[in-house]
Structures are given as structure tokens and as C-alpha cells.
Amino acid sequence: MLSTQDTAIIPHEWYNVVPDLPRQLPPPVDRDEKNSSIQLLNRILPKTILKQEFTFQRYTKIPEEVQEIYAQIGRPTPLFRANGLEKALDYKGKILVKYEGATITGSHKINTAIPQAFYTRDEGSTGVVTETGAGQWGTATTVAASMAGITSKIFMVKVSFNQKPLRKNIMELYGGEIVPSPSTETEFGRQVLAKAPDHPGTLGIAISEAVEYALEKDLKYMLGSVFNSVLTHQSVIGLESEKQLEILGEEPDVMIGCVGGGSNFGGFVFPLMKKFKEAKIFASTASEVPKFTKGEYKYDYVDTAKILPSIKMYTLGSDFVPEKIYAGGLRYHGAAPSISMLVNSGKIKSSDVTESSVIDALKLFARSQGIVAAPESGHAIATAIEYARANGNSRETILVNVSGHGLLDMSIFQR
């Protein structure tokens, strides 16, 4: 029987969009004449990641070991028709869902955590350090590190740390060490706390702390999003979807995903964009973090401490402090350069979604499909619902990437 969940659907190669972009991707740049922040990446990233970041190969072979683990962590993830949601909306077209919440850690983040942790181990490092917002990235990192037999340390944005105590438990269960950020463990964290003892934390600050810690302790830093190599690893989402659509005999007219740093969105949309050239593409972001509509397309720092290079992207400023929304994964000030370029060129449309419409969308999705989606993914679902409502009779096929489940984010419904 044809199934969209056969392990044969797991791709053997990752896809990098850069050689297929319409314009040249602006390179990362240094702002400081004396200390090169690009050079610094050599100290904190595994060589293989740097190679992938700067070689811009269209296809890169996925190591056998990583392919095997992809099968163990739930790949291929399901792609199904959301009949319940279609009915609830009385939508005449089709709504298809690619569901990354079905991986063992409950989101797409594991897709890149696995290769990064294994490259780190292969190159002889003993541990990894990273930041996490909502906790999904931290969770994926702790599992991947344990599978690779190395240690993991996670700086978790304080507001999420307080909102989601279960996240800490699960990351510890997986063998990680978790600290709320800003913390007293780094110089930068201490500086922030000295100025604002109650600082809620931001992803920009947590990245700065993780990078500083990696440099200090000679550990490898895990890239959660934004970087090109991460989007490349995440291409498994779109590559699987391509085969699954073929099995189902479907072609999307509209593709929708949510954007924090852009990894689930890029991983989902880029491989499909090649084939479905005419499809409309929407990037959902939080109204509280309106990077594409209120941000500027310019060179800006990846992190608040300005340790990492500047990249050209839509940004609200590397010192932007967003409201304490529940979708911690969308609180990042910028977005991947490749996605930013395509938003700038008009190929990708953006859609800002308010927290209350996200909550409504999550409820409707839970009641019609039975899936509790992550608050971040709720943005994509809300955009899809809005599109379906506005185009009720269009009979278009809408494909939504639901990047994670929200079973550990239930506090969003308690207000």
C-alpha cells in the first residue's frame, strides 16, 4: 500500500536554496576592524557546519548515521489532509498539514540538532551549548547531545523558563544542564542583570551568553536557526513533503509556515518552491514581533552582545525586547537572510498574527483535528484559517507546516 510514512521517503540529501535564489545572498560581514567575528566562528562551530555554511552546495549527502536516526525520531513526519478543519471552516478547497510535532521532541528542531551534535562528537569536542526560547530547541539539543554521547548546556530565556517549568524538567531528563538567561554565568549576562535585575531575557541575549560560554569553556555552539546550514538541514521537511504530495496526488496553491529565525519555514518552503513555482507563500509572524512589516532590511547583528557577525536581514534591532508572548520561538529580532531577501523581493508575503487569534486558531485546530499545536505553529494555522475564510470558494489547496506540538505550552490557554 502507498503510505506517506514509509521510511523510504526520508531524503538522502539536504537541499540548500542559495544557488537557486534570484539574487546574490549578501555575505556575513565584520563590523570591527581588529577582531573578525567571522573568523571567530571557527572556534565555536564544527568544521563540517562551517563547510556547509560557506560552500553553498545545492545538495549535501546526509550522513548514514543521521539518516538512521531520522527514522528513529519519527521521520518521515506525517503529511495529511485536515478534513476536520476544512469542515469546521466550511472550506471548499483542501487544507493539507505537514506535522513536525510528530517527532520525539515535538518539533522540527531535532532535524538540525542531530547532525550538529554528531559533527561535534566526530570532531572530538566534549559538549555543546546553546540558547532556547520556547524550549523546543533546547529540548532537541539535549536529546541530540545525549544520543551523540556529549554534554549539553542550555541558556533558556527567563520569561519562558518561568512560564514553562516542565521544559526544564524534560531537558534535564534528557541529560542537559539548564540556566535561565540573563544569568550570572557569563560576563554579558551579568552586565544585563546589573542594568535590569528583572530583565525577562531575549533570544538575542541568550545567544550572546551561549556563544560567550562556548568560547570560554571551549565547547561547540549549536545553531538553532537563522544560519543557512540550519535551513539546509531543515530541508528534510520540504523534501519529504514533495514526495508525500506526489503520493497523495496533490499540488499546493498556497504554502504557509511560521517564522522565528526562519528554519522551519525555509526548510519547508524552499524545496517545494522549486517545483511549485506559482504557489503563493505566506510567512506568519507574531504581531508583537513584526519583523517583516515594521523591521528594516539591513545589516544587523545576530546576537545582542554583537559577538557574532552581521547579516543582512529584516530586523527590529539586535537590542529589541519583545513583549512576553507565549510563542517564545517567534521572539527573535531578525530572520534568515535567504527568507529576508525573498520577502524583500515580494516572492514571500508576510502575515502578522495577534496572540488572541493564535489562541482561537489553536483551539479550533485542537477541536477539529485533535492536535494541540505549538503556539509558534499556531501562527501558521491562524494565517491558513484567515486565508481559507477569505477565499472560501476558491478551491485552492493550502499546505501548512505545523512546526511543533504544544503539549508543554498549555499555559497559553490559562489566561
Binding site: V18, D20, L21, Q24, P26, P27, D30, L50, T55, Q57
Partner: protein
């Protein structure tokens, strides 16, 4: 002749020192010279070249350019200007005419494709009417752009192997070389960025590059006014068994 291309920033470290270096350029080793026009914000250059720009700006006068090209043209070495478009677009002059009058054979414009991509289809043919536009590509340049821009030009192509000059990044040399060579069969493609040793020069030539551009590596000789060291470097390249044609 050894297919070496040398990069110097105009007026670095001083007009006189640079002139003495250009006087020592060996036409048996060097096929082209690139002269960078000093710039207050050389965005896409690495730290070593950036530092030369800030020194050079203090000494720079456009009239020096002709002095440099005269020395090189006297040796029969074609000389190219490297200039950011931003600078000239602000001045509102025809920069191709200006540079041609100063004795340059063509121009390399590192920010054109990244920052002026909408205008490049208009600007490149305009420049090509005056002299040679040398496309500057790197591994992040999309295939489509490599093909369309190359087709608007007649001369050689500059391929930067790394995202920035003078920075050592692990990258897959074979992979990045193969991609451009496959896209542009038959074209003269010279590689640069991040090449430091004679062994690397040979490796790049073996992979099929037509020549090798060296920039950051020369800064140490210039900074120390080490003309003898620069001469020896050229000799070492000449004597290394380079087997490119």
C-alpha cells in the same frame, strides 16, 4: 608566465612605497594587477584589506592612479580597478570613463550584484561599452546570476572562494571550484580570497582555475616595506612547479 594576480590598495602604505612595489612586479609571474580604490566602508573586504583602506584614504588622490597604471602598463601587465559602486554612484560620474582614462583595462565591482542587483542589467552593458566589466562571483552567487551576468561580459571572471578576503574558513574547495567551472565552460576564471601558500596556489590551478589572485598575503610585505621579501615571494611562486597552462 605564472598566472598570478596581485591586489594592492591604492596609496597603501604610501604612494612612494606602492610605486616601488609595482616597479618590482615581475611580468614573468604576474598576469594582472588589481588596484583597489580606497573606500571608507569596504564592506565585503576582510579585516586585513579593510585596515589598508583606512590608511590609504589618508594618502589617496585620484591623480596617483595614472602613475600606478603607467608603471604596470609599461611592463605590459593589464591593470584593473577594484571599486565599490556605492562610491561612484554617489559622485554621479561615469566611473568607467574616469577609470579608463586612468589607464585601467577594466573594473571589478564587489558590491554591484549584492547591493545593486536591480540595476546591474543596465550598469554592466554600460561599463562594457567603455572597457571590461570583470564579474565578481562567489559560492553564494546563484547559478542563474552567474550565467546571465557572464553572458553580458567578454573578459575574465573573478571568483572569490570565501565569503570575505583574508579569512580562513573551512570550505570544500573542490566543490566550489567545480560548480563555477561547470557553469562557465571555456571562460577564463581566476580564483581569489583566502589563498595563502604556494601549495594552495598549485591546488587551485590544478582544479582548473586560470589564475590565482593574492591580496591579504601581500599586506605584510607592504606594511614592513619589505621589497626584498616581495621579490622573493614572486621567485618562490615562479620556481614552484605550477603546471597550469
Amino acid at each position: 608566465m605564472t598566472p598570478l594576480i596581485l591586489y594592492f590598495t591604492a596609496d597603501y602604505p604610501s604612494t612612494e612605497i606602492l610605486k616601488s612595489f609595482l616597479g618590482a612586479v615581475d611580468p614573468d609571474v604576474v598576469k594582472y594587477v588589481e588596484i583597489g580604490i580606497p573606500e571608507s566602508n569596504p564592506l565585503y573586504d576582510g579585516p586585513i584589506i579593510k585596515a589598508t583602506h583606512s590608511v590609504a584614504l589618508k594618502n589617496y588622490t585620484p591623480s596617483h592612479l595614472l602613475e600606478y597604471t603607467s608603471i604596470l602598463n609599461g611592463k605590459g601587465i593589464p591593470t584593473y580597478a577594484l571599486s565599490y559602486y556605492e562610491k561612484f554612484s554617489k559622485q554621479g560620474i561615469s566611473f568607467a570613463e574616469f577609470l579608463k582614462d586612468d589607464g585601467f583595462r577594466g573594473v571589478i565591482v564587489p558590491d554591484l550584484l549584492t547591493d545593486y542587483s536591480e540595476e546591474s542589467d543596465r550598469i554592466i552593458p554600460e561599463i562594457e561599452e567603455t572597457f571590461n566589466f570583470i564579474p565578481f562571483f562567489n559560492p553564494a552567487t546563484p547559478d542563474g546570476l552567474i550565467i546571465s551576468v557572464s553572458s553580458m561580459t567578454r573578459s575574465w571572471i573573478y571568483y572569490g572562494l570565501q565569503p570575505s578576503t583574508g579569512i580562513d574558513m573551512p570550505f570544500d574547495l573542490e566543490e566550489v571550484s567545480k560548480r563555477i567551472l561547470d557553469l562557465l565552460p571555456g571562460r577564463e576564471i581566476n580564483f581569489g580570497f583566502g589563498i595563502r601558500t604556494t601549495a594552495q596556489i598549485r591546488e587551485v590551478l590544478d582544479l582548473g582555475s586560470s589564475g590565482v589572485a593574492i591580496g591579504s598575503l601581500l599586506v605584510e610585505y607592504l606594511k614592513n616595506r619589505d621589497l626584498e621579501g616581495f621579490r622573493k615571494f614572486q621567485v618562490s611562486v615562479r620556481e614552484a612547479p605550477l603546471n597550469a597552462d
